[in-house]
Subunit: 233 residues, 2 copies
Amino acid sequence: MTDREHLWLRLAVDLVILTVRDGQLQVLVIERANDPYQGRMALPGGFLRAGEDLRQAAERELVEETSLDGAVLHLEQLATYGAPDRDPRGRVVSVAYLAIAPDLPIPTAGSDASRACWAPVEDVRDDLAFDHNQILRDAVERARTRLEFTTLATVFCGPTFTVGDLRHVYEVVWDVTLDPRNFSRKVVQTPGFIEPTGTRRIPPTGRPAALYRRGSAEALHPPILRASPGTDG
Amino acid sequence: MTDREHLWLRLAVDLVILTVRDGQLQVLVIERANDPYQGRMALPGGFLRAGEDLRQAAERELVEETSLDGAVLHLEQLATYGAPDRDPRGRVVSVAYLAIAPDLPIPTAGSDASRACWAPVEDVRDDLAFDHNQILRDAVERARTRLEFTTLATVFCGPTFTVGDLRHVYEVVWDVTLDPRNFSRKVVQTPGFIEPTGTRRIPPTGRPAALYRRGSAEALHPPILRASPGTDG
DNA sequence: CCAATAGTGTCTGTGAGACAGTATCCG
DNA sequence: CGGATACTGTCTCACAGACACTATTGG
């Protein structure tokens, strides 16, 4: 019964990589090639290795799956999931990380045999393996909250972007429509949120928009609060 | 080298139990009786057991250390700490939980040989074993944020409390002074925050104050935002 | 009466939301 | 010129903070 006091287990690190593509919030998923849940969609992840920090493991998985530099991207710990029966192979506790990426040209330059692809969150939110549906739900809610209180929305965009691009991120992630004029005033007035680059982008139609880059601020004071506290299933 | 792919480790669950006592934010700490960091202060915790969920383990530790029912108290997962060298005994990853308790008469009715006691956060914030200083910092910051956006402050109080008691919680946790009149209006007007019991409490001096119990709401709309974004080390 | 705490009413500045109006591109 | 998008100005309402004032106890 010393086993009760000293349970040995394996620790997995799973990734929820979110982006905004084609006007939708999308998540990077893989199709499982092996044993449990074979053929099912799942979040990318892997086991923690010796000598590795949790964040290091998350960054390593991120590179393996998307060829993205985890040290540059936004990457934050989400939560840890440890229900005894969450993995049929045995006791596996999973630390989930939330990553935010701009719209990448091709997601899967990975080396793994498993195919990786972007999928709209709405399309896969109930079809993932393990307890990944719950993890994805928690990740989306975290991202929505981060948009309220931090400058995270700029990470969804590329290195330079217009105020309209930034507004588009908010509208897609929150699933709302925002007044472009009020949003512009709000964002420009918030110190450290965005910095003008001096250049402009000429759209197919309409007046050219000023291009910005992300500012130095991390937190938003005051925050951009959502009107309704998100009551969508 | 299969060891690199399948690292086995032990998972600990550590608790940050906060309360407001004697006008200070205090945390429950134990004095370590055994091997690493013997005699040093540390957060209470223990290893995950077979068949146990993470939250179950946290509730079990909570009962062992404080004889409090973890199912009733506020208990939320804080974060997971997994630096390779965080525990001299070997690879141990720790899932930290944040618990909020009202001012208890005696903290240590626990069975463990280790002595448990309340200590002001300020007094122990740099003297804890392992990486518990960092965990404590994160926990306090989480609690401060929770007070802004949830009705968590009522959990610091007993089953019934006055508006002044509730204000006292905010003032101690945030380390600020609040206008009693504005605070009262704000709290009473927020639907679901507090419910009148119809009874009153007679203080040593002054007008009797109405007693309330916690309301049904969990989230605060709108939130009670701190003025300054906490720049204390 | 005074001291002390509880609670109400009022003013003011700030910011969000609504929306008219102006600016600048393409065709 | 019209169509479309970017951006500015103005109004209104709600709320946070400051603070005068009233209410209710004990001594």
